[in-house]
Structures are given as structure tokens and as C-alpha cells.
């Protein structure tokens, strides 16, 4: 039993000390003689959030199962503990060895969300590592990142030594091996980074420079003169060579304390065929690649034996699009039912087939159903390429209500491009139709009160989507539109919405360029951390940091970009071409729906990888 890094007294004075102790089932401890590379995978939020993340756990086990690497875990301490740590001179530490993170070779951050960026900076500082990569020396760990938000590399470019662009399963073992060779050969920091830069899919920001015009707009990002020719002008994301045989862990850490998503998650496929125009995941994870029911069932069996979890949940962007769903559910039920393990099928499109499935997997629990029409009118749903009609929704609700469900959540977005007040009123109208349907079905009978919720989030335009050029609406306008919905909504329907300030900041950061680094640094200096948690977000502090850097948040979130304007993420090639995104934007303007990949290839560009659905293999 390793001794804990923090004293008892400190742990007992904070909320949920179980977050900081490690020692969970299936966590990995290695002897010094068993590894050459000592690294940690870092999550810029608390334990409970990080340990809910499949990708994080997957890469942890992958790295520990690969070669001579020991990979530990690091999470952000909650502010109550951080304050105590700073008072007492304690530093950011790893869970497994309970030692200071600064003593490791490499720290790999998983970037899931722009609002966690200040936590990255704060964690580095708490670790005692210079937060900017240019200030780090030979004895500091190499700090890098990957994950969906990393695709726009620039806002955090000042802080990372390099970026892993593409799927970690494919790249991380190779990166670790290159690093290992460098370490054994005794190479210095810059030489090591040069070697790592040669790995396909790696981007080393310090080898590139940016140019801005006299009005302060981004013009270009290119290799610095001394690196021209030796590093790529465009960095192409890497994909696993074969998803069916890609790494699937046999063991998974089982947290001792309760975390948000605490179950076996089976990733049934990656990517999405749908191409909803607002959805970044729908573009950056292309092409769709499936795992077979046989592989998934085998993995589930091993994971059940090694974890004892009581629930398995299928994971993908759209469960219903899995080509052999019936077969998979049957074979999973074959192993789960005898063990009293429940099977969850989230993000189902609700048709008669999926109701049959739901009846089959959980005969009793009628918890709640979520539908995501995303927009209130057919016109706007066509603009965003959300292939759902009012009839689809009402048909699903009818089946649900007749089947005894009373809790329905309707999920929408507000602030979508080309949105008018009619679309907002349409949200209320749609909800009323759902309510009327419930009343009609239960007419003349004593029925329970239905629990219908309209949940409206604020649209944030993201890089690598057809709406990457679109303006985002400002805070007062977001509030006004929220009010429009509220005013039109019956009191029998609950309404929930997102904090507008979080959304516009997310909008500014996600389409920011390298100068955003100064803003993030300054706002962190001013005390920002846990910005993803509303109780910690201070909008004014962010606005001050923009001003101090001579920047306007509006230039990044509110400004409509022209199609031929250079974008700060043009050097990243995620497979989907800019030409395709332009075409999709034009189709959106005309209200034209684009068929999903399973029906017809629309030539998004990702066929160049020759994988998955693009080559008819799913």
C-alpha cells in the first residue's frame, strides 16, 4: 500500500476525499524495473467527471498494456483541496504512485471541453511546472494533449509542447516509443520534440508561427523558417487502422466512490452517418466504423468478469444506426440477464423496433425518454440537417405514452443560424402537441400528471462544421430568445436552459487563434478555474482578460467569417474537406437536406482514408 501524498488532516477537511486516494480495483502499479517511460494521463476536471469518461480510461489501460510504459492518472483537485494544497506547499500529484506529477516524463491532457482550459493551466501551475511550453526546461515533463477540443490547436498552443491529432489508440503507443528511444539515448528537450514531430499526426506549436494583418485578423500559420520542410504544413489526423481489431481493454478501473457514469461502456461504433450541421463530433469522428456483435460480446464478458459492474451501456453517437443492433442486444442479454446486469441503450431513435428493444432490455424501468428534435420547425430542422419530422416525434411519443411512459424530455438548441422567432415559438408548439397527445391518450381516464421538459441549450459554432463561419448571437439576444420560448410555453411543461455567458465564452475560445493563449493565461492569473462549473465562472474576469490582450471576444464568437478567410485551424486536416463544409453551408442556406452516409456518399473527403462505411465495410 503506497502512502498517500496528502496528510490525513487535509483529506479529512475536504469534500469527497475518496477522489484523491487511488487504489481502485484494476488500477495499475508498476515496479521501476518494468518501465522506461513514466507518464500520466490528465483530466482537467475532478475525478468524478474524468473517471466517467470512456476514452480516458481506455487510453490509460492501452498505455499500461503497451511496451515499457507506466501511465498513471492525474485529476484537478476540487477548489477546496487546491486551496489547502497551496497553503501547505503541496503539488499536483498522481493517484497511483501518489507522487508529484512534475517528476514524470510526460503529461498527456485529454481536452474535452473549452471551458476546462483554465484548469489545464492551473494544474500545470499547481504541479510546479512552468505553464507556458517556452518556459519549460530540461527537467520538466513534456506536456501534450489530444481529444475533440484539441482539433482547434491554437487557443492552447502556448501551453502544450505538442498535440496528438487523431485517435489516441493509433498514436499514443508510437509517440511513447519514440519518446522512450529519445530518453534512452539521452536526447534533450528540443531534439526529443523534433523526433516526436516526425510522428504522423503530431503538431508541435512552437515549430510554427502565426501572422496577423494590421486590423488584427488571423492571416496564416506556417512552419517557422528553420523548420520549413522538416515539419508538415498540414497535419493530418490519424485513424485506427482497423476499428474491429482496435484495442479493447479486458479490465477497467472501478472507482471506489460514486462517479457520474459508473458502468461498463461499450463503444459500438465510432463516427456518425447523419451529418447534423451543428455537430462537431459528427464531422471529426468520420468515417463510421463499427465493431461486430461478436467482438463486443466477448469484450463485455471479460469486462463483467473483471469489474463486477451492474450495468452495461452502449456508446456511440446514435445507437439506432448500428447495423446489427438486434443481434447485438440479443447476444449481450445472453450474458447480462443471468448476472442481473442491466443493459442501457442510450440515444435510440424511437421507432417501433427500438421500443421492442427497450421492452426487451428492461421490462420494468420506465425512467424517462429523451427526444432531440433540436429545432422547433421543419424549416430549421432541414437547415441543420436533422432528419427528424414532427410526425416522427409524435409517433414516438404516442408509442411511449401508450406504453406507460410519463416522463419525456425534449431537447432543442437556440441561436442556430437562420433562426427566427417563429422557430422559437415552434419549440413551444411542438411541446404543446406532445402534451395534447398525452391528454388525448389518457382522455376520460384517471391519468398521472405527465412530466414533460423542454431543455434548450445555446448553439455554439464549432470548427470543422459547416457552421464554422457563422456568427453566434450575443448574451442579451440569447436571453431574449429564451424568454420568447418561456412566454409561449404552458406552465404544465418544465423549461430548462443553459447559462448564456458560458455559451458565448465557449464560442469565443473554440474558434480562437493563438492569441487566445494570452487571454487564458491572464484570466487564470486573475483566479479563473473550473469555468465549466457555473458557480466558478466569472464572465467579467474573462472580458477583462480579452481587453488586456487587446482582443474582442466578439471578433471570435459574433463575427461572421467570409468563406475565403484563412481560419486558425486550416493547418489541421480532419479528413472532411473545407470544400465539403462550404457546400454544406450553402445547402443549409437553401434548406436542403443532405442524405446520410449509409444512403449516399456526399463526398465529404474522409473517403481518402479508405476505411469503414466509405469502403462499404462499416
Amino acid at each position: 500500500m503506497k502512502e498517500l501524498y496528502l496528510p490525513d488532516e487535509m483529506l479529512m477537511s475536504v469534500e469527497k476525499p475518496g477522489r484523491y486516494i487511488g487504489g481502485e480495483l484494476n488500477s495499475v502499479i508498476k515496479e521501476k524495473s518494468d518501465y522506461d517511460v513514466h507518464m500520466a494521463i490528465c483530466f482537467a476536471d475532478v475525478y468524478d467527471i474524468g473517471m466517467s469518461h470512456l476514452g480516458f480510461k481506455l487510453l490509460y489501460h492501452l498505455l499500461n498494456d503497451t511496451g515499457r510504459i507506466w501511465c498513471e492518472r492525474v485529476f484537478a483537485p476540487w477548489p477546496d483541496l487546491e486551496d489547502r494544497m497551496r497553503e501547505g506547499g503541496y503539488r499536483l500529484f498522481t493517484l497511483e504512485s501518489q507522487s508529484e506529477a512534475a517528476g514524470l516524463d510526460m503529461l498527456a491532457f485529454s481536452l474535452q471541453y473549452e471551458m476546462s482550459y483554465t484548469n489545464v493551466v492551473n494544474m500545470l501551475d499547481l504541479a510546479g511546472i512552468p505553464v507556458r511550453s517556452c518556459e519549460r526546461g530540461e527537467n520538466d515533463p513534456i506536456v501534450f494533449c489530444g481529444g475533440p477540443s484539441a482539433n482547434n490547436t491554437e487557443p492552447m498552443a502556448d501551453f502544450f509542447d505538442f498535440y496528438n491529432l487523431g485517435e489516441g489508440e493509433e498514436m499514443l503507443p508510437e509517440i511513447a516509443e519514440v519518446f522512450r528511444q529519445c530518453k534512452l539515448a539521452g536526447l534533450g528537450r528540443t531534439e526529443t520534440l523534433k523526433k516526436i514531430a516526425a510522428v504522423e499526426g503530431v503538431y508541435v506549436p512552437s515549430f510554427y508561427e502565426c501572422e496577423y494583418d494590421s486590423d488584427g485578423f488571423f492571416v496564416s500559420l506556417r512552419p517557422k523558417a528553420e523548420f520549413a520542410g522538416s515539419v508538415p504544413e498540414k497535419i493530418r489526423k490519424r485513424l485506427v487502422s482497423d476499428f474491429e481489431t482496435a484495442y479493447l481493454p479486458e479490465k477497467m478501473i472501478v472507482p471506489n466512490i460514486e462517479v457520474v457514469h459508473d458502468r461498463i461502456m461499450l463503444e459500438i461504433f465510432r463516427g456518425c452517418t447523419r451529418g447534423c450541421r451543428f455537430c462537431q463530433a459528427g464531422f471529426i469522428y468520420r468515417p463510421v466504423r463499427e465493431r461486430s456483435p461478436e467482438t463486443l460480446t466477448e469484450a463485455a464478458k471479460k469486462l463483467l468478469d473483471s469489474t463486477g459492474y451492474e450495468e452495461i451501456s452502449l456508446l456511440s453517437l446514435s445507437t439506432s444506426d448500428y447495423s446489427r443492433l438486434g443481434e447485438l442486444t440479443d447476444s449481450l442479454l445472453g450474458i447480462t440477464a443471468p448476472k442481473r446486469v442491466s443493459l442501457a441503450l442510450p440515444s435510440l431513435r424511437l421507432d417501433s423496433f427500438s421500443f421492442e428493444l427497450m421492452e426487451k432490455v428492461s421490462a420494468v424501468r420506465k425512467s424517462g425518454l429523451t427526444f432531440a428534435p433540436e429545432a422547433g420547425t421543419q424549416r430549421l430542422r432541414d437547415i441543420i440537417n436533422k432528419g427528424v419530422t414532427e410526425e416522427d416525434l409524435l409517433r414516438s411519443c404516442r408509442t411511449a405514452f401508450e406504453g406507460g411512459w410519463i416522463t419525456v424530455k425534449l431537447y432543442f438548441m437556440l441561436g442556430l443560424p437562420f433562426e427566427t422567432d417563429d422557430d422559437l415559438i415552434g419549440i413551444a408548439d411542438l411541446a404543446h402537441k406532445v402534451l395534447a397527445l398525452y391528454d388525448e391518450i389518457h382522455a376520460g381516464r384517471k391519468a398521472r400528471r405527465p412530466n414533460i421538459t423542454v431543455s434548450v441549450s445555446t448553439f455554439v459554432p464549432k470548427p470543422f462544421t459547416p457552421f464554422q463561419w457563422a456568427p453566434q448571437i450575443p448574451v442579451p439576444e440569447i436571453r431574449r430568445r429564451q424568454d420568447v420560448i418561456k412566454q409561449h410555453l404552458s406552465r404544465r411543461i418544465s423549461f430548462s436552459w443553459h447559462d448564456p455567458e458560458t455559451s458565448v465564452l465557449e464560442g469565443a475560445i473554440s474558434r480562437g487563434d493563438r492569441r487566445m493563449g494570452g487571454v487564458i493565461y491572464d484570466v487564470w492569473k486573475a483566479g479563473a478555474r473550473f469555468d465549466a462549473w457555473q458557480e466558478y465562472l466569472d464572465y467579467g474576469r474573462w472580458m477583462n482578460a480579452f481587453a488586456a490582450n487587446g482582443l474582442h471576444a466578439e471578433d471570435f464568437n459574433r463575427r461572421e467569417r467570409s468563406i475565403d478567410e484563412p481560419l486558425p485551424w486550416d493547418h489541421v486536416d480532419v479528413g472532411v474537406t473545407k470544400k465539403f463544409l462550404v457546400r454544406e453551408l450553402e445547402r443549409a442556406e437553401k434548406g436542403l437536406v443532405t442524405p446520410n452516409c449509409a444512403e449516399k456518399c456526399s463526398g465529404c473527403g474522409v473517403q481518402s482514408y479508405g476505411k469503414g462505411i466509405c469502403v462499404g465495410k462499416i
Binding site: P17, L25, E310
Partner: protein, 247 residues
Amino acid sequence: MEKYRIRFRKEGRAKYISHLDLLRIFTRCARRTGIDLEYSQGFNPHAEIVFSAPLPLGMTSEAEYADLQLAGPADEEKLLKTLVTSLPEGISPVKITRLEPGAANVMKNVSYCRYELFVSFGDPAEREIFPGLVRSCLDGEKPVMTAKKSKSGTKVVDIRPMILSFCDGFSAVGDNACTFGAVLAAGNEQNLRPEVALRGICDAIGGKTAVNGASDRADDDPDVSVGCKLTAVRKLEYLDSDKRPLW
């Protein structure tokens, strides 16, 4: 249907695992290892495991109990071994016994609990006089009044009747700390937590305490000029009404 009682230790970092998390940990352990637990009927079936009284977060224990209800008979030694190898670090079963049908819950026969307290003093001289002061306080006539939380709220009560012994086996540790034993009322009827006993006694002898470690963290006043400080508590064993150690 068969019932087995196991006695286990909860120590080391497992002291930071809450009582609520414990049920989940045992249930998952059973599923991993093929221990055939019975489940309750109804809407949200849960595994039929009954634990002894919840151990406060931060306290270690030599004497935790879990009654497991199994679908069929099991080999006791094998069952124990399975649990020992499969429970997470710090949760260590020590023995097992088969229960007769209808056997009462562990806490039913519990009247007292023996603890070991770890206490530090601001000044070694205070440590010297502490055992004597405690003895005269408990031997005296005056009630030991202290605020005690119960289900119905916080009340000031005389805790002396709930203290069977305090400060036995006193032994000095380092420059200014010590460890000693205490036997306090425990169970369904009356229950006195060690930190409450220490606070009450210290108030009565005119000292001041700070509680660190076991629970009652909301009561921990950082501004108190520390006379003595509870740094850790270990639960050693339960006693029945005849003061005999429980199985």
C-alpha cells in the same frame, strides 16, 4: 437461502470510502467472483447485504460486519478466501460464519464499542496530567454535559452514563501525542461517538479540543487554541450487554 456473516477490517486508504459506497463495492465483488447473492424483490432490486452500523468517514476499524444472503449454501473457507482476494485494498475480511435462519442483525446484540484514540497535545505537560484529570472527572459526581447530535437534533446531555471506560492503556507516543482505549455505548439504543466523548470530557476538565479525523467536521472550529486534538480513531471491537466481545 443461506446467510453468512463476515467480519472485516477497514483500514488504510479504505477509510475514505463511505458507507454508501461499501454496498456497491461488495455487490460488484460478488458479481465478479460468482458469489450468488440474493436480491430484494421489487422495482429496484438490491443485493441482500446488511452491514453493521455505518463507520464514519476517516475512522478505521477492526470490527466491521456484513451479513450476506446467498441463494444457496457455500463453502465458508472458500467464500472467505474469495472475498479476501477480490475486495479492494484496505477492506479485509478476517472470518466468516454461517448464520441460522432468522438470526438477528449484528447491531441487535451490541451494547458497547471499544475504540483506540490517537490524541496529540499542544504541550507535553498537558499530556502528563491528562489521564489523571480524566479519571477524577469520570469518578466524580458531576454530570458530563455536552452537545450531542441525534436524529431529533442537537441536545445537551450527560454523557457520563454512556462512558464505560476512557483513557485505559494510556501510552505516550513521540513528544506530545498519545494513544489510549475507550469503551463507549454503541448500538441501536444509545450511541456515543469517540470524538463527542473526548470533547465532553475535555470541556468538563477545562481543556479544549479539536477534532481531526473522525467526522463531526462541521463542528471543527479552526480558531480554537488547541489543547488536545483527536488525530485518528480506530474501532476495535463491539461488546454485548455483558461486556463480552462479539464474535
